[in-house]
């Protein structure tokens, strides 16, 4: 999926400090990343994590306090926004309310002094690409949210920028439309073959459309990787927790050699993990958290298997497309609830039953504590 393409955008040691009345806020704290040509690169994180500030530094609306941005070999930092040749879609779309759809889309071309005939052709072509040919003469206020969204995208792409910035473009749409539009954005981005930076707080959206994702918190990047890597092999507790649902089981490492490690849980149950398959290198700590996704856990009424944990089903929640089991483990010592997601009800398992939890060690991660 991810053949090596040349890197076009590189961000080195970027920082942005905002000076408030009394305090300094480190909005972006020394981040670096590289984006390959034609990739859709997502900055993902909760609000206030610095993703939008990073994007605005790329656009040129914020001056970085430190670090540099290079795009296609040029230093971006000193170039004003209107000379950067970037396309951008804003969270509020920012369509010009006093102009028709055609004029909105043609705006960037007019600024580039393109001949009128060519403007018409190119606007028509891009409006066809977003499938809104019939709206050209209307005003933005006469369009639905999804249509405005697509026009904003067309307006950003019509002058064929080398870089496209998308700032939470789907956050104003309702749930169904959001899913449809994210596929549209991916389709159009692939067709235009434009390097794209996408900012969102919605992890599902990020997983669905990105080539690469950078997960951010507190102005820093926690992890950069493909959607699979981010979901399956989170490198920090924060990433594991922020993306999807996660179970963290407290445990201690009792024995460690070259090949394997034994985890002891508060209930004195133990599990043997093959060290070679482990992702976390730091196993020399005595305490840790075992990470596992709810849908990767198996539940069986048959007790006493190897590498299994005993628990009791506390609640079963029926959610339609899936069934969620709340299973309490370590009941005698330090009770803890574990989520298990199944796409249908498990036979012979009801609320109150004693069950065994089984997991594959490939599905787990181990985070040292302290």
């Amino acid at each position: 999926m991810n053949q090596k393409r040349p890197i076009t955008l590189s961000i080195q040691n970027l920082s942005k400090v905002f000076h408030g009345k009394t305090e300094r806020v480190m909005a972006v704290d020394d981040i670096s990343f590289h984006v390959s040509e034609g990739d859709l690169f997502t900055l993902l994180g909760p609000s206030g994590c610095g993703k939008t500030t990073t994007l605005r530094c790329l656009a040129g609306f914020e001056k970085p306090s430190n670090g540099n941005i290079r795009f296609l070999g040029r230093d971006f930092t000193t170039i004003p926004p209107f000379r950067r040749n970037i396309g951008m879609v804003f969270q509020s779309y920012a369509l010009f309310p006093h102009m028709s759809i055609f004029d909105n889309v043609a705006y960037g071309l007019r600024m580039r002094k393109i001949p009128r005939r060519e403007i018409e052709q190119r606007v028509n072509r891009i409006i066809q690409l977003v499938e809104l040919e019939e709206t050209q003469k209307r005003k933005p206020s006469e369009l639905s949210g999804g249509q405005q969204q697509r026009i904003a995208l067309a307006r950003a792409l019509v002058y064929e920028p080398k870089l496209l910035l998308l700032d939470e473009p789907l956050s104003n749409l309702d749930a169904k439309l959001r899913i449809y539009m994210r596929e549209e954005i991916r389709r159009i981005q692939q067709k235009a073959k434009v390097t794209t930076i996408y900012v969102t707080h919605d992890q599902e959206e990020a997983l669905a459309i990105s080539d690469q994702i950078a997960v951010m918190s507190d102005g820093k990047i926690d992890q950069i990787g493909s959607p699979d890597e981010i979901y399956e092999k989170p490198q920090t507790i924060h990433v594991a927790d922020f993306i999807g649902q996660a179970n963290f089981l407290t445990c201690s490492l009792v024995k460690k050699n070259e090949e394997s490690v034994i985890l002891r849980f508060p209930s004195n149950e133990t599990v043997l993990l093959d060290q070679n398959k482990k992702r976390t290198s730091a196993c020399d700590h005595s305490k840790g958290l075992l990470f596992i996704r709810p849908e990767r856990l198996e539940v069986t009424p048959v007790l006493g298997k190897a590498n299994s944990l005993k628990g009791q089903v506390k609640r079963v929640l029926y959610l339609g497309s899936q069934v969620r089991y709340y299973i309490q483990i370590f009941q005698q010592s330090a009770p803890q609830e574990v989520l298990v997601d199944k796409n249908r009800r498990i036979k012979d398992v009801k609320e109150g039953d004693e069950v065994a939890l089984i997991f594959n060690e490939e599905d787990t991660g181990l985070f040292p504590l302290e």
Binding site: P80, A94, A156
Partner: protein, 564 residues
């Protein structure tokens, strides 16, 4: 290539700062400099040059020694407070009736209730004499049927009545707006807990709109203590500070004593602002309205009919003076007779022979000043909203300062600044345009600022990212989006300048008499016919400008005054 880009970048980012510099220069030269000259003058004896040992308090000592000064000071305060009191008495119930009862013809009441703000107060003021004066029509009937007459209208009663009737809309409109936008659920929950209608008004409704009432009352007070025309016409021996200033300038051309009076007049306004700030801070509540549902409207028949009666009476009496002006302008006269006599166009024929120049002067001055104020006010508002820099509050304060200053004080300031020294402009039209421009720029500034703050910053950013320079973005995106706000401000600016008297009376020269000066001169010499013909022309001009703007903008008249 990179160098070339950098140069262009620097050039473009330079423009906003150039604008900022220019704006600051204008503010310094036309506002800060004249006002500091007034301050300085007030502490110097006439003829003295500035030095530390020359500083004196003589100019202020009159307020302790002269009974004329003492009474003028007390009279001004009296007029201010009485006008506030009566404006609240009329404005608050009217706002309540319109916002909270099922009254018919609300739009008409609202529009007519706004009218007194546009019509220059002094034009109608003399009508009170015609109606209720010693020779007036009311006394005529009272004497005939009841054998007694009203007390003399000249002095405090006339001044307070005439001012209140033209200023109460400030309280009315601000209270009305607040009543419309307050959270209906608060009242509903009070009702559920057992509050009667009167309890509700007393415990919830009125306390919630107190900040707006205070804001309206403040404007009324500022206008009342700074008004020149009304006390000049109806005061008689009842002097207030603005008429005293006029007396000092016209009688003795003493800018030093006039400056001292002006400083006292300004401090009065300052004190009022402090008091209202205190009231607003204590009584300010943030109400979060998560609903588009309007406030509860009472269906009570009694309330409805008392509303109609009350509002009709208030509106009738507030417009009566202007109606009298228009009717009388078509007659030979209406004094000492039961009804106006001899309907004809004679007054109009006369003024078109002798008073064409003032009309043209007024148009020229008002249009020029409006254009200047529009350009500079718009740029200033752009800088104030969109640019981040230290000491921004100084910009806001300087621009808005003339808004709170009495018109006659602005006149004194401009005269002090430009009658001697580096720039001498006395006797020219320019000095009048400067006075008009700084006095009315706040209207444009506020209205442009209001519409600019409505524009999402990302719309401008979208334009920049699409390749538009600062200038292109400003002219293609920002300005067109601000246009309705600017136009509304400009129309208010123009119409109020057409009826401007307080600043004009200090700055005009023989060759640059305005329509308002001509009117007041005719009125002083009791030449009612031509005065009212000119007054009618003024009223028609102002109303047509406002109506045209309403048509263009698709707004209601009461909305146009929201920001003023």
């Amino acid at each position: 290539m990179v160098n070339g880009l950098k140069e262009r970048f620097d050039k473009i980012e330079f423009i906003p700062y150039l604008v900022l510099g220019l704006a600051l220069l204008i503010l310094l030269l036309f506002i800060a400099y004249p006002l500091s000259k007034v301050l300085l003058n007030s502490f110097l004896n006439a003829g003295d040059v500035f030095s530390i040992q020359n500083l004196t308090l003589t100019n202020f000592s009159q307020f302790f020694s002269s009974s004329l000064y003492k009474s003028a000071l007390m009279n001004t305060l009296l007029v201010g407070f009485l006008c506030v009191f009566f404006s609240c008495l009329l404005g608050i119930p009217m706002a309540y009736f319109l916002a909270r009862t099922e009254m018919p013809f609300k739009t008409i009441f609202l529009t007519l209730g706004t009218l007194p703000l546009i019509l220059p107060p002094f034009v109608g003021a003399y009508s009170w004499v015609l109606l209720f004066g010693r020779q007036g029509v009311v006394n005529f009937f009272l004497k005939e049927f009841f054998g007694f007459v009203l007390p003399d209208i000249y002095g405090a009663p006339g001044v307070v009545i005439a001012m209140t009737m033209s200023l109460y809309p400030f309280v009315f409109l601000l209270t009305y707006g607040a009543l419309l936008s307050s959270d209906p659920y608060l009242e509903e929950s009070a009702t559920i807990m057992g509050a009667s209608r009167w309890d509700l008004i007393r415990t919830v409704t009125l306390p919630l709109v107190t900040p707006s009432i205070a804001a309206g009352a403040l404007i009324v007070f500022m206008r009342a203590v700074g008004n020149f025309g009304v006390p000049a016409l109806l005061g008689g021996n009842f002097y207030v500070l603005p008429t005293l200033i006029h007396f000092q300038i016209v009688g003795f051309f003493n800018l030093h004593t006039a400056g001292a009076i002006a400083i006292v007049n300004i401090s009065m306004v300052g004190l009022a602002i402090l008091i209202s700030q205190y009231v607003m801070a204590k009584r300010s509540y943030v109400t979060i309205t998560g609903t588009t549902q309007g406030a509860q409207v009472s269906a009570s028949k009694t309330l409805k009919w008392s509303g109609i009666l009350f509002c009709s009476c208030v509106i009738f009496f507030s417009l009566l003076p202007h109606i009298t002006v228009i009717v009388t302008s078509f007659t030979e006269g209406w004094s000492g007779t039961r009804y106006p006599t001899k309907f004809s166009f004679e007054n109009y024929q006369r003024i078109f022979q002798i008073a064409k120049t003032p009309i043209l002067n007024s148009l020229f001055l008002a249009i020029t000043a409006t254009l200047v104020a529009t350009v500079i006010g718009t740029l200033l508002s752009y800088i104030a909203v969109r640019k981040q820099f230290h000491g921004k509050w100084i910009l806001d304060l300087t621009v808005m300062l003339p808004f709170i200053l009495p018109g006659i004080v602005v006149g004194v300031a401009i005269l002090s600044g430009f009658s001697s020294g580096l720039i001498v402009l006395t006797g020219t039209w320019m000095i009048m345009v400067i006075g008009f421009f700084i006095r009315r720029m706040p209207y444009i500034f506020r209205s442009a600022t209001a519409s600019l703050s409505q524009i999402d910053l990302s719309v401008e950013e979208a334009s920049a990212i699409a390749g538009a320079s600062w200038g292109a973005t400003f002219f293609r995106i920002t300005l067109p989006l601000m246009a309705p706000g600017i136009l509304a401000g400009a129309v208010i600016c123009f119409s109020t300048l057409m009826g401007e008297l307080s600043t004009t009376i200090i700055l005009y020269s023989a060759g640059w008499k305005t329509i308002t000066v001509a009117i007041i001169e005719y009125l002083f010499s009791a030449t009612i016919g031509p005065a009212y013909a000119l007054g009618t022309i003024l009223i028609v001009l102002v109303l047509s400008a406002i109506t045209l703007a309403n048509r263009l903008l698709g707004r209601k008249m009461s909305q146009m005054f929201k920001m003023v």
